[in-house]
Protein backbone atom coordinates (compact mmCIF):
# COMPACT_ATOMS: atom_id res chain seq x y z
CA UNK A 1 0.00 0.00 0.00
CA UNK A 2 2.78 2.40 0.93
CA UNK A 3 4.47 1.89 -2.42
CA UNK A 4 1.29 2.60 -4.40
CA UNK A 5 0.46 5.60 -2.23
CA UNK A 6 3.88 7.17 -2.53
CA UNK A 7 4.04 6.43 -6.25
CA UNK A 8 0.72 8.21 -6.67
CA UNK A 9 2.01 11.26 -4.86
CA UNK A 10 5.23 11.18 -6.84
CA UNK A 11 3.52 10.91 -10.22
CA UNK A 12 1.02 13.64 -9.34
CA UNK A 13 3.83 15.96 -8.24
CA UNK A 14 5.89 15.24 -11.34
CA UNK A 15 2.94 15.90 -13.64
CA UNK A 16 2.03 18.99 -11.67
CA UNK A 17 5.50 20.49 -11.88
CA UNK A 18 5.77 19.61 -15.59
CA UNK A 19 2.45 21.31 -16.29
CA UNK A 20 3.36 24.35 -14.20
CA UNK A 21 6.45 24.90 -16.30
CA UNK A 22 4.37 25.29 -19.48
CA UNK A 23 3.91 28.64 -21.12
CA UNK A 24 0.13 28.90 -21.27
CA UNK A 25 -2.14 29.68 -18.38
CA UNK A 26 -4.57 26.74 -18.60
CA UNK A 27 -1.90 24.01 -18.29
CA UNK A 28 -0.39 26.01 -15.43
CA UNK A 29 -3.70 26.09 -13.56
CA UNK A 30 -4.13 22.35 -14.16
CA UNK A 31 -0.58 21.76 -12.96
CA UNK A 32 -1.29 23.74 -9.84
CA UNK A 33 -4.36 21.64 -9.13
CA UNK A 34 -2.38 18.41 -9.55
CA UNK A 35 0.30 19.81 -7.26
CA UNK A 36 -2.36 20.67 -4.67
CA UNK A 37 -3.78 17.12 -4.84
CA UNK A 38 -0.33 15.68 -4.35
CA UNK A 39 0.34 17.99 -1.42
CA UNK A 40 -2.95 17.08 0.23
CA UNK A 41 -2.31 13.36 -0.15
CA UNK A 42 1.17 13.85 1.23
CA UNK A 43 -0.10 15.78 4.25
CA UNK A 44 -2.72 13.12 4.79
CA UNK A 45 -0.13 10.36 4.92
CA UNK A 46 1.87 12.19 7.59
CA UNK A 47 -0.35 10.58 10.22
CA UNK A 48 0.98 7.24 8.92
CA UNK A 49 -1.05 4.91 6.73
CA UNK A 50 -3.13 2.25 8.49
CA UNK A 51 -5.93 0.05 7.31
CA UNK A 52 -8.97 -0.43 9.51
CA UNK A 53 -7.99 2.10 12.15
CA UNK A 54 -10.68 4.29 13.61
CA UNK A 55 -10.90 8.03 13.14
CA UNK A 56 -11.83 8.58 16.77
CA UNK A 57 -9.80 8.17 19.91
CA UNK A 58 -10.39 5.12 22.04
CA UNK A 59 -11.48 2.44 19.58
CA UNK A 60 -10.19 -1.10 19.96
CA UNK A 61 -8.24 -1.20 16.70
CA UNK A 62 -6.31 1.92 17.69
CA UNK A 63 -6.90 5.33 16.27
CA UNK A 64 -5.16 7.36 13.62
CA UNK A 65 -3.65 10.75 14.28
CA UNK A 66 -6.44 13.33 13.73
CA UNK A 67 -4.16 16.34 13.24
CA UNK A 68 -3.14 15.62 9.61
CA UNK A 69 -6.81 15.33 8.67
CA UNK A 70 -7.44 18.76 10.17
CA UNK A 71 -4.43 20.17 8.31
CA UNK A 72 -5.62 18.63 5.05
CA UNK A 73 -9.07 20.16 5.47
CA UNK A 74 -7.54 23.61 5.88
CA UNK A 75 -5.20 23.01 2.96
CA UNK A 76 -8.05 21.84 0.72
CA UNK A 77 -10.13 24.93 1.46
CA UNK A 78 -7.22 27.27 0.80
CA UNK A 79 -6.28 25.28 -2.30
CA UNK A 80 -9.78 25.59 -3.74
CA UNK A 81 -9.86 29.33 -3.13
CA UNK A 82 -6.47 29.83 -4.75
CA UNK A 83 -7.32 27.69 -7.78
CA UNK A 84 -10.57 29.60 -8.28
CA UNK A 85 -8.72 32.90 -8.02
CA UNK A 86 -6.02 31.87 -10.48
CA UNK A 87 -8.66 30.60 -12.92
CA UNK A 88 -10.47 33.95 -12.85
CA UNK A 89 -7.18 35.78 -13.17
CA UNK A 90 -6.22 33.63 -16.14
CA UNK A 91 -9.50 34.46 -17.88
CA UNK A 92 -9.00 38.12 -17.08
CA UNK A 93 -5.44 37.98 -18.40
CA UNK A 94 -6.72 36.38 -21.60
CA UNK A 95 -9.07 39.32 -22.04
CA UNK A 96 -6.58 42.02 -21.02
CA UNK A 97 -3.53 40.75 -22.84
CA UNK A 98 -5.24 39.19 -25.86
CA UNK A 99 -3.32 35.97 -25.35
CA UNK A 100 -3.19 33.14 -22.87
CA UNK A 101 0.60 33.14 -22.84
CA UNK A 102 2.04 33.76 -19.42
CA UNK A 103 4.09 36.70 -20.68
CA UNK A 104 1.32 38.14 -22.82
CA UNK A 105 1.60 37.83 -26.57
CA UNK A 106 5.16 38.31 -27.71
CA UNK A 107 4.54 40.74 -30.54
CA UNK A 108 2.33 43.03 -28.51
CA UNK A 109 4.58 43.20 -25.52
CA UNK A 110 7.55 44.31 -27.63
CA UNK A 111 5.47 47.04 -29.16
CA UNK A 112 4.38 48.01 -25.70
CA UNK A 113 7.89 48.44 -24.40
CA UNK A 114 8.43 51.17 -26.94
CA UNK A 115 5.46 53.22 -25.91
CA UNK A 116 4.91 52.74 -22.20
CA UNK A 117 6.79 50.08 -20.28
CA UNK A 118 4.60 50.10 -17.21
CA UNK A 119 1.36 51.76 -18.18
CA UNK A 120 1.24 53.65 -14.94
CA UNK A 121 -0.91 56.38 -16.35
CA UNK A 122 -4.08 55.54 -14.53
CA UNK A 123 -6.39 57.29 -16.96
CA UNK A 124 -5.46 54.75 -19.59
CA UNK A 125 -4.56 51.89 -17.29
CA UNK A 126 -7.97 51.80 -15.67
CA UNK A 127 -9.98 51.11 -18.82
CA UNK A 128 -12.07 48.00 -18.87
Amino acid sequence: MEAIFSATIGILTACGIFMMLRGRTLPIVLGMSLMTFATNLFLFSMGRLRIGADGLVGSKLGSIDPVPSALVLTAIVIGFAMTAFVMILAIRARADLGSDHINGSRRKSRHDHRSDPLELDESRGGKR
Binding site: M32, T39, L71, V86, L97, E122
Partner: protein, 508 residues
Protein backbone atom coordinates in the same frame (compact mmCIF):
# COMPACT_ATOMS: atom_id res chain seq x y z
CA UNK B 1 -7.16 40.88 30.82
CA UNK B 2 -4.10 42.39 29.18
CA UNK B 3 -3.23 39.16 27.45
CA UNK B 4 -6.36 39.46 25.29
CA UNK B 5 -4.68 42.38 23.57
CA UNK B 6 -2.28 39.93 21.96
CA UNK B 7 -4.94 38.87 19.48
CA UNK B 8 -6.10 42.44 18.80
CA UNK B 9 -3.68 43.08 15.87
CA UNK B 10 -5.42 40.16 14.11
CA UNK B 11 -8.99 40.59 15.38
CA UNK B 12 -9.27 44.34 14.83
CA UNK B 13 -8.38 44.33 11.12
CA UNK B 14 -10.66 41.34 10.60
CA UNK B 15 -13.56 43.11 12.33
CA UNK B 16 -13.05 46.30 10.36
CA UNK B 17 -12.60 44.40 7.10
CA UNK B 18 -15.99 42.75 7.65
CA UNK B 19 -17.62 46.09 8.54
CA UNK B 20 -16.05 47.65 5.45
CA UNK B 21 -17.47 44.92 3.24
CA UNK B 22 -20.94 45.56 4.64
CA UNK B 23 -20.67 49.27 3.98
CA UNK B 24 -21.95 49.52 0.40
CA UNK B 25 -22.61 53.25 0.07
CA UNK B 26 -21.48 54.87 -3.15
CA UNK B 27 -19.60 57.65 -1.40
CA UNK B 28 -16.19 56.59 -0.20
CA UNK B 29 -16.18 58.90 2.85
CA UNK B 30 -17.86 56.48 5.20
CA UNK B 31 -15.50 53.68 4.25
CA UNK B 32 -12.58 56.03 4.79
CA UNK B 33 -13.90 57.00 8.21
CA UNK B 34 -14.27 53.34 9.18
CA UNK B 35 -10.79 52.52 7.90
CA UNK B 36 -9.41 55.54 9.76
CA UNK B 37 -11.00 54.43 13.04
CA UNK B 38 -9.67 50.91 12.51
CA UNK B 39 -6.15 52.11 11.78
CA UNK B 40 -6.14 54.45 14.78
CA UNK B 41 -7.26 51.66 17.11
CA UNK B 42 -4.57 49.39 15.68
CA UNK B 43 -1.94 52.03 16.30
CA UNK B 44 -3.04 52.34 19.94
CA UNK B 45 -2.94 48.56 20.31
CA UNK B 46 0.47 48.27 18.63
CA UNK B 47 1.98 50.88 20.96
CA UNK B 48 0.45 49.15 23.99
CA UNK B 49 1.90 45.82 22.88
CA UNK B 50 5.31 47.41 22.50
CA UNK B 51 5.09 48.76 26.05
CA UNK B 52 3.87 45.38 27.34
CA UNK B 53 6.98 43.63 26.01
CA UNK B 54 9.51 46.23 27.15
CA UNK B 55 10.45 44.38 30.32
CA UNK B 56 11.04 41.18 28.37
CA UNK B 57 7.79 39.39 29.21
CA UNK B 58 6.68 36.88 26.61
CA UNK B 59 2.91 36.93 26.35
CA UNK B 60 1.02 33.96 24.98
CA UNK B 61 -2.58 33.64 23.93
CA UNK B 62 -4.18 30.23 23.65
CA UNK B 63 -7.15 30.31 21.35
CA UNK B 64 -10.15 28.59 22.93
CA UNK B 65 -8.01 27.57 25.94
CA UNK B 66 -6.61 24.64 23.97
CA UNK B 67 -3.23 24.11 25.45
CA UNK B 68 -0.15 23.91 23.29
CA UNK B 69 1.25 21.90 21.62
CA UNK B 70 -2.23 20.88 20.42
CA UNK B 71 -4.04 24.21 20.38
CA UNK B 72 -3.32 27.27 18.35
CA UNK B 73 -1.14 29.72 20.20
CA UNK B 74 -0.15 33.31 19.57
CA UNK B 75 3.11 34.54 21.03
CA UNK B 76 4.04 38.14 21.62
CA UNK B 77 7.67 38.79 22.34
CA UNK B 78 9.75 41.88 21.66
CA UNK B 79 10.43 40.92 18.05
CA UNK B 80 6.72 40.36 17.30
CA UNK B 81 5.73 43.67 18.92
CA UNK B 82 8.46 45.48 16.98
CA UNK B 83 7.30 44.03 13.66
CA UNK B 84 3.63 44.72 14.43
CA UNK B 85 4.27 48.39 15.11
CA UNK B 86 6.27 48.75 11.90
CA UNK B 87 3.50 47.18 9.82
CA UNK B 88 0.81 49.26 11.57
CA UNK B 89 2.65 52.54 10.99
CA UNK B 90 3.18 51.61 7.38
CA UNK B 91 -0.48 50.69 7.05
CA UNK B 92 -1.51 54.06 8.46
CA UNK B 93 0.67 55.90 5.93
CA UNK B 94 -0.69 53.82 3.05
CA UNK B 95 -4.27 54.45 4.24
CA UNK B 96 -3.67 58.19 4.34
CA UNK B 97 -2.27 58.13 0.82
CA UNK B 98 -5.01 55.91 -0.58
CA UNK B 99 -7.80 58.06 0.86
CA UNK B 100 -6.93 60.76 -1.65
CA UNK B 101 -8.89 58.90 -4.32
CA UNK B 102 -6.82 55.84 -5.16
CA UNK B 103 -9.14 53.74 -2.98
CA UNK B 104 -12.15 54.61 -5.15
CA UNK B 105 -10.53 53.32 -8.37
CA UNK B 106 -11.59 49.75 -7.65
CA UNK B 107 -13.87 47.89 -5.30
CA UNK B 108 -13.30 46.93 -1.68
CA UNK B 109 -9.90 48.57 -1.37
CA UNK B 110 -10.11 49.27 2.35
CA UNK B 111 -11.53 45.85 3.24
CA UNK B 112 -8.75 44.09 1.32
CA UNK B 113 -6.26 46.38 2.94
CA UNK B 114 -7.44 45.42 6.43
CA UNK B 115 -7.25 41.72 5.50
CA UNK B 116 -3.72 42.31 4.30
CA UNK B 117 -2.78 43.88 7.64
CA UNK B 118 -4.47 41.00 9.43
CA UNK B 119 -2.37 38.47 7.53
CA UNK B 120 0.87 40.37 8.11
CA UNK B 121 0.25 40.85 11.85
CA UNK B 122 -0.87 37.23 12.18
CA UNK B 123 2.36 36.01 10.58
CA UNK B 124 4.32 38.03 13.14
CA UNK B 125 2.33 36.81 16.12
CA UNK B 126 1.70 33.15 15.43
CA UNK B 127 3.59 30.49 17.35
CA UNK B 128 2.79 27.65 15.04
CA UNK B 129 4.23 26.67 11.66
CA UNK B 130 0.90 25.69 10.16
CA UNK B 131 -0.70 28.95 11.22
CA UNK B 132 2.23 30.77 9.71
CA UNK B 133 1.16 29.10 6.45
CA UNK B 134 -2.46 30.15 6.98
CA UNK B 135 -1.55 33.77 7.68
CA UNK B 136 0.81 33.76 4.68
CA UNK B 137 -2.16 32.71 2.55
CA UNK B 138 -4.34 35.45 4.03
CA UNK B 139 -1.80 38.16 3.34
CA UNK B 140 -1.12 36.72 -0.12
CA UNK B 141 -4.70 36.51 -1.30
CA UNK B 142 -5.31 40.07 -0.12
CA UNK B 143 -2.14 41.17 -1.89
CA UNK B 144 -3.17 39.44 -5.14
CA UNK B 145 -6.34 41.49 -5.20
CA UNK B 146 -4.61 44.70 -4.12
CA UNK B 147 -1.93 44.33 -6.79
CA UNK B 148 -4.69 44.21 -9.42
CA UNK B 149 -6.48 47.18 -7.86
CA UNK B 150 -7.70 49.59 -10.56
CA UNK B 151 -6.62 47.19 -13.31
CA UNK B 152 -4.48 47.63 -16.38
CA UNK B 153 -2.52 45.31 -18.66
CA UNK B 154 0.78 45.48 -16.85
CA UNK B 155 -0.80 44.83 -13.49
CA UNK B 156 -2.54 41.74 -14.82
CA UNK B 157 0.72 40.52 -16.30
CA UNK B 158 2.75 41.15 -13.14
CA UNK B 159 -0.09 39.76 -11.02
CA UNK B 160 -0.19 36.53 -13.00
CA UNK B 161 3.50 35.83 -12.36
CA UNK B 162 3.23 36.83 -8.71
CA UNK B 163 0.19 34.67 -8.04
CA UNK B 164 1.48 31.54 -9.77
CA UNK B 165 4.87 31.68 -8.07
CA UNK B 166 3.29 32.15 -4.67
CA UNK B 167 0.74 29.36 -5.14
CA UNK B 168 3.59 27.02 -6.07
CA UNK B 169 5.49 28.20 -2.99
CA UNK B 170 2.44 27.46 -0.84
CA UNK B 171 2.52 23.83 -1.98
CA UNK B 172 6.14 23.61 -0.98
CA UNK B 173 5.36 25.21 2.37
CA UNK B 174 2.72 22.54 3.01
CA UNK B 175 5.09 19.74 2.04
CA UNK B 176 7.72 21.14 4.39
CA UNK B 177 5.24 21.52 7.24
CA UNK B 178 3.93 18.02 6.59
CA UNK B 179 7.42 16.54 6.67
CA UNK B 180 8.17 18.32 9.94
CA UNK B 181 4.97 16.97 11.43
CA UNK B 182 5.62 13.50 10.10
CA UNK B 183 9.09 13.30 11.63
CA UNK B 184 8.78 15.38 14.80
CA UNK B 185 5.07 14.97 15.53
CA UNK B 186 4.29 18.62 16.22
CA UNK B 187 3.87 21.94 14.45
CA UNK B 188 4.09 24.25 17.42
CA UNK B 189 7.32 26.23 17.08
CA UNK B 190 8.25 25.99 20.75
CA UNK B 191 7.53 22.28 20.79
CA UNK B 192 9.52 21.85 17.58
CA UNK B 193 12.45 23.61 19.25
CA UNK B 194 12.37 20.99 22.01
CA UNK B 195 11.79 18.00 19.72
CA UNK B 196 14.51 18.96 17.31
CA UNK B 197 17.11 18.46 20.05
CA UNK B 198 16.23 14.76 20.22
CA UNK B 199 16.38 14.02 16.51
CA UNK B 200 17.76 10.58 15.73
CA UNK B 201 20.29 9.87 13.01
CA UNK B 202 17.58 8.43 10.76
CA UNK B 203 15.29 11.43 11.08
CA UNK B 204 17.99 14.02 10.61
CA UNK B 205 17.96 13.93 6.83
CA UNK B 206 14.21 14.41 6.66
CA UNK B 207 14.23 17.28 9.13
CA UNK B 208 17.01 18.99 7.20
CA UNK B 209 15.13 18.55 3.94
CA UNK B 210 12.01 20.06 5.49
CA UNK B 211 13.97 22.95 6.93
CA UNK B 212 15.59 23.66 3.57
CA UNK B 213 12.24 23.59 1.80
CA UNK B 214 10.88 25.97 4.38
CA UNK B 215 13.86 28.21 3.75
CA UNK B 216 13.21 28.14 0.00
CA UNK B 217 9.65 29.34 0.65
CA UNK B 218 10.80 32.15 2.92
CA UNK B 219 13.48 33.14 0.41
CA UNK B 220 10.83 33.38 -2.30
CA UNK B 221 8.85 35.77 -0.09
CA UNK B 222 12.02 37.72 0.61
CA UNK B 223 12.93 37.71 -3.10
CA UNK B 224 16.44 36.30 -2.88
CA UNK B 225 18.32 35.21 -6.01
CA UNK B 226 17.28 33.02 -7.90
CA UNK B 227 13.73 33.47 -6.57
CA UNK B 228 13.58 37.24 -7.07
CA UNK B 229 12.29 37.59 -10.63
CA UNK B 230 8.72 38.36 -9.61
CA UNK B 231 9.57 41.32 -7.44
CA UNK B 232 10.64 44.20 -9.73
CA UNK B 233 7.66 43.86 -12.04
CA UNK B 234 5.07 43.31 -9.33
CA UNK B 235 6.24 46.13 -7.10
CA UNK B 236 6.69 48.55 -9.97
CA UNK B 237 3.20 47.83 -11.30
CA UNK B 238 1.40 48.10 -7.96
CA UNK B 239 -0.56 51.28 -7.22
CA UNK B 240 1.31 53.64 -4.86
CA UNK B 241 -0.56 52.87 -1.65
CA UNK B 242 -0.27 49.13 -2.33
CA UNK B 243 3.45 49.42 -3.04
CA UNK B 244 3.77 51.02 0.40
CA UNK B 245 2.29 48.03 2.18
CA UNK B 246 4.20 45.64 -0.11
CA UNK B 247 7.38 47.16 1.31
CA UNK B 248 6.82 45.09 4.45
CA UNK B 249 5.96 41.88 2.58
CA UNK B 250 9.58 41.02 1.87
CA UNK B 251 10.30 41.71 5.55
CA UNK B 252 7.72 39.08 6.53
CA UNK B 253 10.11 36.64 4.87
CA UNK B 254 13.07 38.10 6.76
CA UNK B 255 11.11 37.85 10.01
CA UNK B 256 10.20 34.20 9.34
CA UNK B 257 13.82 33.33 8.60
CA UNK B 258 14.93 35.04 11.78
CA UNK B 259 12.27 33.37 13.90
CA UNK B 260 12.53 29.84 12.54
CA UNK B 261 16.31 29.71 12.28
CA UNK B 262 16.93 31.14 15.75
CA UNK B 263 14.14 29.39 17.63
CA UNK B 264 13.94 25.96 16.00
CA UNK B 265 17.24 25.51 14.19
CA UNK B 266 19.31 27.74 16.44
CA UNK B 267 22.33 26.98 18.62
CA UNK B 268 20.59 24.26 20.61
CA UNK B 269 19.59 22.14 17.60
CA UNK B 270 22.71 19.99 17.76
CA UNK B 271 23.76 18.54 14.41
CA UNK B 272 21.29 20.55 12.37
CA UNK B 273 22.12 23.92 13.92
CA UNK B 274 23.33 26.65 11.58
CA UNK B 275 23.04 24.66 8.39
CA UNK B 276 21.04 27.54 6.90
CA UNK B 277 23.65 30.23 7.34
CA UNK B 278 25.82 29.40 4.37
CA UNK B 279 22.80 29.41 2.04
CA UNK B 280 21.55 32.72 3.39
CA UNK B 281 24.97 34.30 3.15
CA UNK B 282 25.61 33.29 -0.49
CA UNK B 283 22.06 34.12 -1.56
CA UNK B 284 22.21 37.50 0.11
CA UNK B 285 25.52 38.51 -1.44
CA UNK B 286 24.41 37.38 -4.92
CA UNK B 287 21.13 39.29 -4.53
CA UNK B 288 22.96 42.50 -3.65
CA UNK B 289 25.07 42.13 -6.78
CA UNK B 290 22.12 41.40 -9.07
CA UNK B 291 20.05 44.13 -7.46
CA UNK B 292 22.80 46.70 -7.98
CA UNK B 293 23.12 45.76 -11.66
CA UNK B 294 19.33 46.01 -11.92
CA UNK B 295 19.37 49.51 -10.43
CA UNK B 296 22.06 50.46 -12.92
CA UNK B 297 20.16 49.16 -15.94
CA UNK B 298 16.58 50.20 -15.16
CA UNK B 299 14.85 52.38 -17.73
CA UNK B 300 12.16 53.36 -15.25
CA UNK B 301 12.23 54.99 -11.84
CA UNK B 302 9.81 52.55 -10.23
CA UNK B 303 11.72 49.51 -11.47
CA UNK B 304 14.86 51.16 -10.15
CA UNK B 305 13.30 51.51 -6.68
CA UNK B 306 12.22 47.86 -6.84
CA UNK B 307 15.81 46.83 -7.50
CA UNK B 308 16.89 49.00 -4.55
CA UNK B 309 14.47 46.90 -2.49
CA UNK B 310 16.31 43.81 -3.75
CA UNK B 311 19.64 45.28 -2.69
CA UNK B 312 18.31 45.98 0.78
CA UNK B 313 16.77 42.53 1.31
CA UNK B 314 20.01 41.04 0.00
CA UNK B 315 21.93 43.02 2.61
CA UNK B 316 19.61 41.85 5.37
CA UNK B 317 19.70 38.19 4.37
CA UNK B 318 23.49 38.22 4.00
CA UNK B 319 23.73 39.70 7.49
CA UNK B 320 21.39 36.98 8.78
CA UNK B 321 23.74 34.49 7.17
CA UNK B 322 26.62 35.81 9.26
CA UNK B 323 24.70 34.39 12.18
CA UNK B 324 26.09 36.46 15.03
CA UNK B 325 23.95 38.18 17.64
CA UNK B 326 25.34 41.57 16.61
CA UNK B 327 24.45 41.06 12.97
CA UNK B 328 20.86 40.10 13.89
CA UNK B 329 20.62 43.30 15.89
CA UNK B 330 21.97 45.30 12.94
CA UNK B 331 19.41 43.67 10.64
CA UNK B 332 16.58 44.68 12.96
CA UNK B 333 17.97 48.22 13.03
CA UNK B 334 18.16 48.26 9.22
CA UNK B 335 14.66 46.84 8.76
CA UNK B 336 12.44 49.87 9.62
CA UNK B 337 14.80 52.19 7.74
CA UNK B 338 14.60 50.28 4.47
CA UNK B 339 10.87 49.58 4.85
CA UNK B 340 9.79 53.16 5.38
CA UNK B 341 12.22 54.79 2.95
CA UNK B 342 11.41 52.40 0.09
CA UNK B 343 7.70 52.94 0.72
CA UNK B 344 8.19 56.72 0.66
CA UNK B 345 10.19 56.52 -2.57
CA UNK B 346 7.35 54.61 -4.28
CA UNK B 347 4.97 57.42 -3.36
CA UNK B 348 7.39 60.06 -4.67
CA UNK B 349 7.82 58.07 -7.87
CA UNK B 350 4.08 57.83 -8.37
CA UNK B 351 3.68 61.58 -7.87
CA UNK B 352 6.49 62.21 -10.38
CA UNK B 353 4.82 59.85 -12.84
CA UNK B 354 1.51 61.67 -12.56
CA UNK B 355 2.98 65.12 -13.08
CA UNK B 356 5.05 64.28 -16.13
CA UNK B 357 2.21 63.26 -18.38
CA UNK B 358 3.09 60.71 -21.06
CA UNK B 359 6.68 60.19 -19.95
CA UNK B 360 5.48 58.69 -16.69
CA UNK B 361 8.28 57.46 -14.51
CA UNK B 362 10.55 56.55 -17.41
CA UNK B 363 13.99 58.11 -17.13
CA UNK B 364 13.80 60.26 -20.25
CA UNK B 365 13.81 63.96 -20.98
CA UNK B 366 10.36 65.39 -20.57
CA UNK B 367 8.29 68.33 -19.40
CA UNK B 368 8.90 70.12 -16.12
CA UNK B 369 7.18 68.79 -13.04
CA UNK B 370 4.48 70.87 -11.42
CA UNK B 371 6.14 70.74 -8.02
CA UNK B 372 9.84 70.36 -8.88
CA UNK B 373 11.22 71.65 -5.58
CA UNK B 374 9.04 69.63 -3.22
CA UNK B 375 9.39 66.40 -5.22
CA UNK B 376 13.07 67.07 -5.84
CA UNK B 377 13.77 67.46 -2.13
CA UNK B 378 11.83 64.32 -1.26
CA UNK B 379 13.62 62.36 -4.00
CA UNK B 380 16.98 63.68 -2.81
CA UNK B 381 16.37 62.75 0.83
CA UNK B 382 14.88 59.35 0.01
CA UNK B 383 17.61 58.39 -2.44
CA UNK B 384 20.48 59.41 -0.21
CA UNK B 385 18.87 57.66 2.74
CA UNK B 386 18.29 54.37 0.93
CA UNK B 387 21.79 54.37 -0.54
CA UNK B 388 23.34 55.13 2.83
CA UNK B 389 24.89 58.56 2.49
CA UNK B 390 25.34 60.51 5.75
CA UNK B 391 23.61 62.14 7.59
CA UNK B 392 20.54 60.06 6.74
CA UNK B 393 19.34 56.80 8.27
CA UNK B 394 20.86 54.43 5.72
CA UNK B 395 24.44 55.35 6.57
CA UNK B 396 24.11 54.35 10.23
CA UNK B 397 22.15 51.20 9.42
CA UNK B 398 24.63 50.08 6.75
CA UNK B 399 27.64 50.82 8.93
CA UNK B 400 26.09 48.76 11.72
CA UNK B 401 25.69 45.80 9.38
CA UNK B 402 29.15 46.19 7.86
CA UNK B 403 30.93 46.37 11.21
CA UNK B 404 29.46 43.04 12.31
CA UNK B 405 31.22 41.18 9.50
CA UNK B 406 34.47 39.41 10.29
CA UNK B 407 37.15 37.55 8.40
CA UNK B 408 36.53 36.66 4.77
CA UNK B 409 32.92 37.68 5.17
CA UNK B 410 33.99 41.25 5.89
CA UNK B 411 35.94 41.38 2.63
CA UNK B 412 32.99 40.15 0.58
CA UNK B 413 30.33 42.18 2.35
CA UNK B 414 32.26 45.45 2.37
CA UNK B 415 33.21 45.05 -1.27
CA UNK B 416 29.78 44.11 -2.57
CA UNK B 417 27.78 46.55 -0.43
CA UNK B 418 30.04 49.51 -1.13
CA UNK B 419 30.21 48.78 -4.87
CA UNK B 420 26.43 48.43 -4.98
CA UNK B 421 26.12 51.77 -3.21
CA UNK B 422 28.40 53.37 -5.79
CA UNK B 423 26.42 51.89 -8.68
CA UNK B 424 23.21 53.00 -7.02
CA UNK B 425 24.53 56.50 -6.49
CA UNK B 426 25.57 56.83 -10.12
CA UNK B 427 22.29 55.57 -11.51
CA UNK B 428 20.04 57.41 -9.07
CA UNK B 429 21.92 60.66 -9.80
CA UNK B 430 21.42 60.03 -13.49
CA UNK B 431 17.73 59.43 -12.95
CA UNK B 432 17.33 62.50 -10.75
CA UNK B 433 19.25 64.73 -13.17
CA UNK B 434 17.16 63.57 -16.11
CA UNK B 435 13.84 63.92 -14.34
CA UNK B 436 14.39 67.18 -12.50
CA UNK B 437 16.99 69.12 -14.50
CA UNK B 438 16.87 67.94 -18.10
CA UNK B 439 13.28 69.09 -18.31
CA UNK B 440 11.73 71.50 -20.76
CA UNK B 441 10.71 75.02 -19.74
CA UNK B 442 6.95 74.57 -19.85
CA UNK B 443 5.51 72.84 -16.83
CA UNK B 444 2.89 70.23 -17.41
CA UNK B 445 -0.59 71.45 -16.50
CA UNK B 446 -2.25 68.13 -15.85
CA UNK B 447 -1.50 65.67 -13.09
CA UNK B 448 -2.36 65.66 -9.42
CA UNK B 449 -0.39 67.88 -7.07
CA UNK B 450 0.81 66.49 -3.77
CA UNK B 451 -1.71 67.64 -1.18
CA UNK B 452 -1.80 67.17 2.58
CA UNK B 453 -2.85 63.54 2.24
CA UNK B 454 -0.51 62.27 -0.47
CA UNK B 455 2.32 64.64 0.40
CA UNK B 456 1.76 64.06 4.10
CA UNK B 457 2.11 60.31 3.69
CA UNK B 458 5.27 60.66 1.61
CA UNK B 459 6.83 63.18 4.00
CA UNK B 460 5.90 61.11 7.05
CA UNK B 461 7.53 58.01 5.55
CA UNK B 462 10.66 59.83 4.41
CA UNK B 463 11.02 61.69 7.72
CA UNK B 464 12.28 58.36 9.06
CA UNK B 465 15.50 59.22 7.23
CA UNK B 466 16.10 61.90 9.88
CA UNK B 467 14.29 60.33 12.82
CA UNK B 468 16.42 57.17 12.90
CA UNK B 469 19.73 59.07 13.17
CA UNK B 470 18.18 61.31 15.87
CA UNK B 471 16.94 58.37 17.93
CA UNK B 472 19.64 55.92 16.93
CA UNK B 473 20.65 55.08 20.48
CA UNK B 474 17.21 54.11 21.86
CA UNK B 475 16.46 52.16 18.69
CA UNK B 476 19.70 50.20 18.74
CA UNK B 477 19.28 49.56 22.47
CA UNK B 478 15.85 48.12 21.72
CA UNK B 479 17.10 45.94 18.86
CA UNK B 480 19.81 44.63 21.19
CA UNK B 481 17.10 43.72 23.70
CA UNK B 482 15.13 41.93 20.99
CA UNK B 483 18.14 39.90 19.95
CA UNK B 484 19.01 39.10 23.56
CA UNK B 485 15.55 37.58 23.84
CA UNK B 486 15.98 35.67 20.55
CA UNK B 487 19.33 34.31 21.69
CA UNK B 488 17.66 32.61 24.65
CA UNK B 489 14.92 30.50 23.05
CA UNK B 490 14.50 28.68 26.36
CA UNK B 491 12.33 31.49 27.67
CA UNK B 492 10.11 31.39 24.59
CA UNK B 493 9.65 27.65 24.95
CA UNK B 494 8.93 28.01 28.65
CA UNK B 495 6.36 30.73 28.05
CA UNK B 496 4.54 28.65 25.46
CA UNK B 497 4.74 25.15 26.91
CA UNK B 498 4.62 26.25 30.53
CA UNK B 499 7.53 24.13 31.72
CA UNK B 500 11.23 24.51 32.15
CA UNK B 501 12.60 23.12 28.89
CA UNK B 502 15.42 20.70 28.65
CA UNK B 503 17.35 22.88 26.26
CA UNK B 504 17.82 25.67 28.79
CA UNK B 505 21.42 24.78 29.57
CA UNK B 506 22.45 24.33 26.00
CA UNK B 507 21.42 27.89 25.19
CA UNK B 508 23.96 29.86 27.15
Amino acid sequence: MMHHLVIAPIALPMLFACLLMLERSVLPHRRRMLALIGTTLQLVVAVTLLVMTRDGTIWTYQLGEWHPPFGIVLVLDRLAAYMVIISTLLGAAAMLYASNGQDAKGTNFHALFQFQLMGINGAFLTGDIFNLFVFFEILLIASYALLLHSGGRKRTLAGMHYVILNVAASSFFLIAAGTLYGTLGTLNMADLAVKVTHVTERQQGLVEAAALMLMAVFLLKTAILPLHFWLPRAYAAAPGSVAVIFAIMTKVGVYSLLRVYTLIFGDQAGNIAHFAHQWLWCGGIATIAVGALGVFSSPDLRIQISYLTLVSVGTMVAALGMGSVDSYSAVLFYLPHTTFITAGLYLVAEAIGRQRGRAGTRIVKSRRLRQPYLLGTLYFVGTLAILGIPPFSGSIAKVMILTTAHGYQAAWLWGVVLLSTLLGLVSMSRAGTTIFWRAGQDASTRGALLNWRTGGAAIALLSVALLIPLFAYPLSAFTHDIVAQLAAPGHYVEAVLGQAPSLGEAVQ
